[in-house]
C-alpha cells in the first residue's frame, strides 16, 4: 500500500458525452428553448468543459487486511472504502437474504475546518461503538444520513439472495473533500465490493451536477458535471451569482439501467430538473466506464486469469466480452453496457 499523501498522478479523462449522445445534442439544436452546449457554458474555474469530469484515480486492494477495498480520488476529493464480509449475522437467528451495512465517516481533517472528534466535549449520548472509520466517536447526523444514502445505493447491486444469514459491512472514510464525496463514496464502495469478490449484478457509479440559471428571468439552465465544493457553493464564480439552482446527484447501475440513488438540494424548475438528471446520468455512465476499465486492468495484473476471480460469476463473462469489444475500439470507451 503506497502512501496516501503522495498518490500517483491521475490522468485526465478524455471521454466526452457529445459522442455518445449525439442524437440528443442534435435534437437540442433544433429545440430553440434549450441552450446550445457549444456556447459559453465552458467557463469553469478550473478550466474544464461543462461535461468534463475531474481527473479520476482508482486504486484497489488498498487495505490489504479487508475482504476488499478501494481508493478513489477525484482531484481533491479522496475516499477510502473497505469491505468486510460476508460474515455471520449476530442480530437475527436467520434471514433469507443478506444485509448490507454502511458506516460513513469524515476524518477530522477532511474539511477545511478541523472537526472536533467526539472526545473533546461531552459528545452525543448513545453514540455508536465499534466499527472502524476515522474519529471513532459518535456519528454525526449527516454521517448517519450519508451511511443510509450509500447503503441504499448499493443494495440493488449486491446479490443478497445468495448471502443468507450474512452481513456485508462497508466502511467509508472520507480523507479529503472538495465536493461530491457522497457520490465518490458510492462509486468507490461499489469497486470495493467487486474487489472483495462479492457477487454483484453490476457496478454502481455516481455523479453530481450543479444546475443554475445565470440570471433571473432567463430560463436558460446551465449544467456542470462533477462540481468542486466552490462550484457547489455557488457564491462567486461557481454559479456566476445565479439565484436559482441546485445540486443533483445520481447513482446509476448501467447493467440494469436503474437509478439506485438520487438526491437534490436547491430549487429547479421542470427544464432544469430534466437537464440535470440527464447530465448526471451521463456523468455516471462516464464514471462507470472508468471504473470498469480499472477493474479489468487490475484483474489482469493481480488476478492472473480465470482462477483468481471466480467469485465474480456472471460479471467475468460479460467483461471478457466487453474487453474484446474494447480492444477493437480502444478510443471509444463509453458507458453503454447492454
Amino acid at each position: 500500500m503506497y502512501n496516501c499523501y503522495t498518490p500517483r498522478v491521475a490522468t485526465k479523462t478524455q471521454v466526452s458525452t457529445l459522442q455518445t449522445n449525439s442524437e440528443i445534442q442534435a435534437q437540442r439544436k433544433k429545440d430553440d428553448t434549450g441552450p446550445s452546449p457549444a456556447r459559453s457554458e465552458s467557463f469553469r474555474m478550473d478550466g474544464r468543459a461543462y461535461n468534463q469530469l475531474r481527473p479520476v484515480f482508482i486504486d484497489l486492494n488498498t487495505v490489504s487486511h479487508a475482504s476488499g477495498s478501494a481508493y478513489l480520488e477525484m482531484e481533491h476529493t479522496k475516499v477510502l472504502v473497505a469491505v468486510y464480509g460476508p460474515k455471520a449475522r449476530q442480530d437475527v437467528e436467520f434471514s433469507d437474504e443478506g444485509k448490507l451495512i454502511c458506516d460513513f465517516r469524515y476524518s477530522p481533517f477532511a474539511l477545511r475546518a478541523r472537526r472536533p472528534t467526539g472526545k473533546e466535549k461531552g459528545g452525543r449520548e448513545g453514540g455508536r461503538e465499534g466499527g472502524g472509520g476515522g474519529g471513532g466517536g459518535p456519528q454525526r447526523d449527516e454521517e448517519r444520513a450519508a451511511s443510509r444514502t450509500v447503503s441504499q445505493a448499493l443494495e440493488a447491486s449486491v446479490q443478497l439472495a445468495k448471502l443468507p444469514k450474512s452481513v456485508v459491512e462497508v466502511f467509508v472514510l472520507v480523507l479529503q473533500t472538495d465536493g461530491g464525496e457522497v457520490g465518490a463514496a458510492i462509486s468507490c464502495a461499489s469497486l470495493a465490493l467487486a474487489e472483495a469478490g462479492i457477487e454483484l449484478f453490476g457496478l454502481v457509479a455516481s455523479c453530481e451536477v450543479v444546475a443554475f440559471t445565470p440570471s433571473e428571468g432567463k430560463r436558460e439552465w446551465r449544467v456542470r458535471v462533477d462540481p468542486t465544493a466552490a462550484e457547489e457553493g455557488g457564491e462567486e464564480g461557481g454559479r456566476e451569482g445565479g439565484k436559482e439552482g441546485g445540486v443533483v446527484g445520481l447513482a446509476l447501475m448501467p447493467v440494469s439501467g436503474e437509478v439506485t440513488q438520487v438526491w437534490q438540494k436547491g430549487r429547479l424548475d421542470t427544464r432544469g430538473s430534466e437537464r440535470a438528471l440527464e447530465m448526471a446520468a451521463d456523468g455516471a455512465r462516464m464514471v462507470h466506464a472508468l471504473m470498469r476499465k480499472r477493474l479489468l486492468t487490475y484483474m489482469e495484473q493481480e488476478g492472473g486469469g480465470e482462477g483468481g476471480w471466480g467469485g465474480l460469476g456472471e460479471m467475468t463473462r460479460d467483461d471478457r466480452a466487453m474487453r474484446a469489444q474494447d480492444e477493437k475500439h480502444p478510443e471509444s470507451v463509453d458507458g453503454d453496457v447492454k
Partner: protein, 318 residues
C-alpha cells in the same frame, strides 16, 4: 402493533392490488388518507401545528420557537434555523433497535433540512435585527407521535403549517447615542406588546414533500404501515415541491431503483399531487382568507382527496 414480516403471499396480494389500482384499504394509487391539521396546539410557542394522516395512523407535531442570539461572524446579517426531527418513543415503531431509530431520526432531519434550507424558503436576512449583534434563531422541532406510514410527508405538512402560521413579535432596532460607558447603543425594543400585532415569519415558497413509492411497476403515494413493511416497497422517491411548482429537493429511500429514463417523469408526477395537497392545506389553515390573527382558534379541518376534487369538512374546535 403490526408485525414486521410479511409473507410472500401477502406481498404478492398487495402488488396485484396495486396493479389493479385497489390498495389494501380501498384507496387508489394517487389517493391520500384523510389529512387533519390543527394549528396553535402549543400556545406557549410562536407557532405549532399537528397533522394526522388517516384515522390516527400517522401523527406529527411541529413546534416553532424563536429566540434571540448573536449571529456568527461569517454570517453577521443572517438569522439561523435549527431543525430537529425525531420519532418519539411513543410511536413504538417496529424498528426496535435504538440505533435504527437514531438512524431514522438522522435521516429525516437531514433530508428535511436540505429541503427547507437549500430551497431558500426562509429569508435569513430578514431575521436579523442588528447585524452582528441580534438575530432571530428559529427552532423548528418536529416530533412524530405515531408513525404508521408516510412519515416524511406528514413531517413536511406539519412544518409547513407551523412555519406559515407562526408569528414573531415585531422588534425595532435602536441605535445611535451613547450609554454611560460611552459605548454606542445597539439595542432593540418591542414594537408593540399586543399579541395581535405579531408579524408572520418571512417564509415564501415553502416546500412540502410528496413521497412516491414503487411497488412492482407502479407508483403509489401515502403508503400505510402495512405497505411499508419489509419487502413491500422496492424504492422510494421523496420530491419536495414548493408553491410555484418548482422541485426543491429529491431524496431516495429503500434499496431498489427506478429506471433511468423515467426519472424526470417520475419527479414531475409529484408536482400536480403536491399542488392539490397544498391547496387543501392552505385552505384548512386559513391562509387563503384574510390575514389571520394569532390567538384565535383556527380549528381543524378534515381534507380528503378523491378523484381530483377537494372536499373540506370544517369543524371548529376538537
Amino acid at each position: 402493533m403490526l408485525s414486521q414480516a410479511r409473507s410472500r403471499t401477502e406481498l404478492a396480494f398487495m402488488e396485484a392490488g396495486v396493479e389493479q389500482d385497489v390498495r389494501a384499504d380501498g384507496r387508489r394509487r394517487v389517493d391520500y388518507r384523510d389529512i387533519s391539521v390543527t394549528v396553535d396546539v402549543v400556545p406557549s410557542s410562536h407557532g405549532s401545528a399537528r397533522v394526522i394522516l388517516g384515522h390516527d395512523a400517522t401523527e406529527v407535531l411541529a413546534v416553532v420557537k424563536a429566540d434571540l442570539s448573536q449571529p456568527s461572524y461569517e454570517r453577521a446579517r443572517c438569522g439561523t434555523l435549527e431543525l430537529n426531527v425525531e420519532v418519539s418513543p411513543l410511536a413504538l415503531l417496529y424498528k426496535e433497535t435504538g440505533r435504527e431509530v437514531e438512524d431514522l431520526n438522522a435521516e429525516l432531519t437531514t433530508a428535511f433540512e436540505s429541503f427547507l434550507v437549500e430551497s431558500g424558503a426562509l429569508d435569513m436576512e430578514a431575521l436579523c435585527i442588528t447585524p452582528g449583534k441580534y438575530a432571530w434563531t428559529i427552532y423548528l422541532d418536529v416530533i412524530v407521535l405515531e408513525g404508521q406510514g408516510n412519515i416524511l410527508d406528514a413531517v413536511s405538512l406539519a412544518a409547513y403549517a407551523a412555519l406559515r402560521t407562526a408569528a414573531l413579535p415585531g422588534v425595532d432596532a435602536i441605535s445611535g447615542g451613547l450609554d454611560s460607558a460611552n459605548n454606542p447603543i445597539e439595542d432593540f425594543e418591542l414594537s408593540s406588546t399586543d399579541i395581535l400585532d405579531a408579524k408572520p415569519l418571512p417564509v415564501q415558497n415553502l416546500p412540502i414533500c410528496i413521497t412516491l413509492n414503487r411497488i412492482g411497476n407502479f407508483v403509489v403515494v401515502d403508503t400505510a404501515a402495512e405497505e411499508e413493511a419489509e419487502g413491500g416497497v422496492q424504492a422510494r422517491l421523496t420530491v419536495a415541491v414548493d408553491e410555484t411548482g418548482h422541485i426543491c429537493g429529491l431524496y431516495k429511500g429503500a434499496g431498489g431503483g427506478f429506471p433511468v429514463g423515467e426519472m424526470h417523469t417520475l419527479a414531475q408526477h409529484a408536482v400536480p399531487i403536491a399542488k392539490k395537497v397544498l391547496e387543501g392545506l392552505k385552505a384548512a389553515i386559513g391562509l387563503t382568507d384574510k390575514k389571520e390573527k394569532k390567538g384565535i382558534e383556527k380549528g381543524s379541518s378534515k381534507l380528503r382527496c378523491e378523484a381530483g376534487t377537494w372536499r373540506r369538512d370544517a369543524c371548529v374546535g376538537e
